[in-house]
Symmetry: C2
Subunit: 232 residues, 2 copies
DNA sequence: CGAAAGGTTGAGTTCCGTCAAGTGTGGTGG
DNA sequence: CCACCACACTTGACGGAACTCAACCTTTCG
């Protein structure tokens, strides 16, 4: 159990952008009373499918994946969670998906029933979560769109573009040099492909001059236009 | 323009289950002032990708699909909307997906900016939408899971089970005789497959004795267990 | 240094998409 | 009533894209 200390909202890096930013000081103090920090190391899980649904959380730093697993053990990534993101299935008695840390991550964890009570008493929080939820829904649909592309080329190209957009912090622009945040296996899990196919397609993208690789993870996009065309 | 009359909430079939059910009479009357009914015939669109985002709506009867289109014209179905469901991308300036009627549908349409104002002033509505949004997100992830299965067999089997669950009105149980609500093309669009593959897989499921078909749309599930195993 | 995990590459095979032809079926109009 | 058409669906043959299996390379970490 690696939880600890009271919450230090004052120094929280996501205090302006997370759902709790909608609360005033008094309300936030109240919320902080029922929350606690938790550190997940890379690969550790917050909740697993089948668990009783007791917690929800705001991600403070790091990154999480939300996944489900086929019987044969293949992991399917349903969503990535970035700092200020909210995780947890509100209003549901059971947990349906695994939530696992991609990198060492810091969370603000709450009891789900208590959090729901607070939501009901605090309209601003409900509204903030509604906005976040609308974004999550849009992201999920974007991912469905990506994973549903016919060819593996289009999916890989689209994923690279998505990472490039996420890597640049300005929302409309996209970085042209960045590191892939996932292993080949995780990318495969997002796109419904295999590790080998990801590896081969990245090789092809490079030999076609659309990207340049530096080591296993480093990517430089050389031809945004052709990449966009491929991914359409 | 097939809009009309004031809203008749009193006789609305989804008045107990839609988001607006959370409002008291006075509030609902206020909401009904800014809404109007609209009938969409099969195939007609409510909003198209690229439009300015001006409307949102509650589905009263019928069924909708939320789709995106590849450049080559392939339609990808991102979500199905059932009565009492809410459609519209709140808090977003532009529309990203098409919303099209699968069958003749009756909607309660609102101006999105006005609706957002009302949400901000009515916590119960925000909370109701948050619950609905959480459900939508779960559905979206379930569909990602389904469409991400390795084999076409698993996807088709899973889709049939999903329809069987939707056809029985009790949420935990699943019907064993029902009609497919979609054309082969639409099923293909949901699963990222082709019409021909859907057709063939249905044929195989029948010849393997898992289902029995009556005409193009009628399905009877003969072997729930093997179907579930296939779809896992 | 050795082991483990992540990544690449190759050869063979299978599954699904493509193209094409053919079978209902419901609706419209002569 | 039948002829015709549009649309949804089925079926077959074929080729190619992605999966599987397997070997090997690279980096990291104990």
């Amino acid at each position: 159990m690696n939880s600890n200390s009271n919450l230090a909202c004052d120094t929280c890096p996501v205090r302006e952008s997370a759902a709790c930013a909608s609360l005033n000081d008094e309300e936030r103090i109240k919320l902080s009373k029922i929350g606690r920090h938790k550190i997940l190391k890379k690969g550790e899980t917050l909740t697993a499918a089948g668990d009783e649904n007791t917690v929800c959380a705001t991600l403070v730093s790091g990154a999480l994946k939300i996944t489900s697993n086929d019987r044969d053990g293949t992991e399917r990534i349903l969503s990535l969670v970035h700092p200020a993101g909210f995780v947890g299935e509100l209003f549901s008695p059971a947990v349906h998906h695994d939530v696992v840390a991609l990198t060492e991550s810091k969370l603000c964890v709450f009891s789900r029933p208590q959090y729901e009570e607070i939501i009901e008493g605090h309209p601003a929080l409900a509204l903030a979560l509604l906005r976040r939820s609308a974004d999550d829904l849009f992201d999920a649909r974007s991912m469905m769109d990506l994973a549903g592309k016919r060819s593996a080329d289009a999916r890989v190209a689209g994923l690279i573009q998505a990472f490039a957009r996420a890597a640049s912090h300005s929302p409309c622009h996209s970085a042209d040099t960045f590191d892939l945040p996932l292993t080949r296996g995780e990318m495969a899990g997002m796109l419904g492909l295999t590790i080998e196919t990801i590896s081969r397609k990245l090789g092809l993208l490079e030999s076609d001059g659309l990207i340049k690789r530096q080591g296993a993870r480093g990517i430089r996009i050389s031809d945004h236009a052709r990449l966009a065309e491929l991914s359409d």
